[in-house]
Structures are given as C-alpha cells and as structure tokens.
C-alpha cells in the first residue's frame, strides 16, 4: 500500500502550454489576500521594472501542481491522494512569472522514501517558457500519511 519506489527518476512529458493571464494573477492574489498592485496593475508593475503584471511568489504552484497531476493519477505510482498532505515546498526563480508568459512544466519524481509510518514523494518541476527560458524550478514533497487502521 505504499508509494511505488520504482517511480524514482521518472520524468513525465512537459505539460501543455499554460498562458499566464492578468485575470488569473489577480484572482490568485485576491485568494491569498495580497493587495499588492504589482499583481493587478500594469502601470505599477512597469514602474517596478516589469513588462506586465507579475505573479506572487507561490503562484508557480498552480502550474507545477497541474503538471504533477500526471503523476498523482498514475495508477502504478499507487499514491492515496485523500491521505496526502504537503510536506515541503521550495521555489528557485530566474525571474517572476509575468502576464503573457506561455510556459510548460516538466515533472520528475526525484525521490520516494518511507519515514516512520508515512511515505514521502519529492518532485522537481521545471517551469520554462515555450521559447526555452527558465523561469522557476519547484521542488515539492508530498506526505502520504499512514491510515488509522
């Protein structure tokens, strides 16, 4: 019933291109309660040196998580999503995501291990523009908690 360790090192195909939109960035900023104009006002973003509105630092999770769905639903991986909590998350940025970016995300399962009664899986997701410019790498660890029974 544990996560299948044979999947360590597996790289999934890049996700379909994702277009970062101003409306989505403003929606995400609203949902996290962040009122910064950099996320919704083009003039304010340009005054700070950007071409268009930018994304909050945690926004890339939207793209990396959607790409990770390929792994999560992979039946051979045997991950019980109802028992999953987020263990760790880290981002390394070349620059902020920006409205107008068209990016793909490529997920690699970098580690699967057992810690006590829990199983943990770490993924590394490279987010790059369709022109090949690196924007962000997301490192996420999911914990599958052991069941009560």
């Amino acid at each position: 019933m544990a996560i299948n360790p044979d999947y360590i090192g597996k790289t999934y195909p890049p996700s379909a291109p994702y277009e970062v939109s101003r409306v989505k960035l403003a929606e995400f900023a609203d949902a996290i309660g962040d009122r910064s104009p950099l996320y919704r006002d083009r003039a304010a973003a340009q005054a700070a040196g950007y071409l268009d509105v930018i994304a909050p630092p945690t926004f890339p999770i939207v793209i990396s998580m959607a790409a990770s769905a390929q792994a999560i639903v992979d039946p051979g991986l045997n991950l019980n999503y109802a028992m999953v909590v987020h263990g760790e998350q880290r981002f390394s940025y070349s620059r902020p995501l920006m409205a107008g970016d068209v990016v793909t995300a490529q997920v690699t399962i970098s580690d699967i291990r057992t810690v006590g009664r829990n199983a943990m899986m770490t993924t590394t997701t490279e987010i790059s523009t369709v022109d090949g410019e690196h924007v962000c790498t997301a490192f996420g660890t999911l914990v599958e908690r052991a069941g009560a029974g």
């Binding site: 962040d34 104009p37 630092p57 999503y81 028992m83 909590v85 880290r90 390394s92 940025y93 902020p96």
Partner: protein, 142 residues
C-alpha cells in the same frame, strides 16, 4: 505595500515586525478555486475528520503564500524573490466559525549575500504551534 528596503539599509540580524493573517473557511474555498487544489481536507469537515485530522485544515500553500506576502510587503516593490522554501510542520486548523484560524509570521535577516541578495529566516505559528519550519527566502534588493 511598504517602503522600499535597500541592500545598504539592511543589517544582518535585524528583526522584521510580526504580522498576523486570518484564515476562514471562505478563504480556503477561494484558494481552492484560484489554485485548482480541491483536496477535500480543505473544505469538507466530515472527510477531514474521517482521515484523522482535527478539522478542515488550510492548504499548506495558503500558509506559504502568507509568508510570501510577509516577505514581499516588507521588502517593497523593487525587490525580487530568488529562492523561497518552507517545511509544513503542522497544519493550520480552520474551524467553521466566523473567526477561523490565524497565522502569525515573523522573520529575521539571517545574512547578507553577494549580488545584493539577503536571506530571511521566517517563522509561522498558528494557535501557538509552529506551522512552518526551515522557512527561508532569498531576496534581491536594489
């Protein structure tokens, strides 16, 4: 948004004033929709309790986003986050009332790095328990 922090104006060891962020069930519903993470433990008390959680819990990424706000609000609009990482050490429990949970974020300038970058060590607590550990952001300042 705060005033702009500059590299020259920052001292290693400086404390950042703590900020408390409230989180209600409505916030989690909005975050589900905006993020696409509809895991039932973030909105369904019945299922959350059936899988051994005390109640509905906030998305870890919602909590991390509050720590992100803390950093970018402090650093100012010309700052750029280059690294940001956390470990989710305990869940933020969000009861079904009009108050919800609270996330208190604090931070300290851990060190000044090359390239006009600084490292911030962050702490987040909810109900007195650390909900983020090993939380760290690297920010490039003007």
């Amino acid at each position: 948004m705060s005033d702009q922090v500059t590299y020259a104006g920052v001292e290693a060891g400086a404390e950042l004033a703590p900020v408390t962020y409230q989180v209600t069930r409505l916030d989690l519903v909005k975050y589900c929709g905006a993020s696409g993470d509809f895991n039932v433990i973030h909105w369904n008390e019945r299922i959350a309790k059936s899988v051994g959680l005390p109640d509905v819990i906030a998305h870890g990424m919602f909590t991390m986003a509050q720590a992100g706000r803390f950093v970018t609000d402090w650093a100012g609009p010309a700052a750029q986050v280059t690294e940001f990482g956390v470990r989710f050490s305990s869940p933020v429990v969000v009861p079904d009332d009009d108050v919800g949970g609270a996330i208190e974020v604090s931070g300290q300038v851990e060190e000044k790095l090359d390239g006009n970058r600084i490292a911030l060590a962050l702490t987040a607590r909810s109900a007195g328990i650390k909900v983020l550990t090993r939380a760290r952001a690297v920010v490039r300042l003007p």
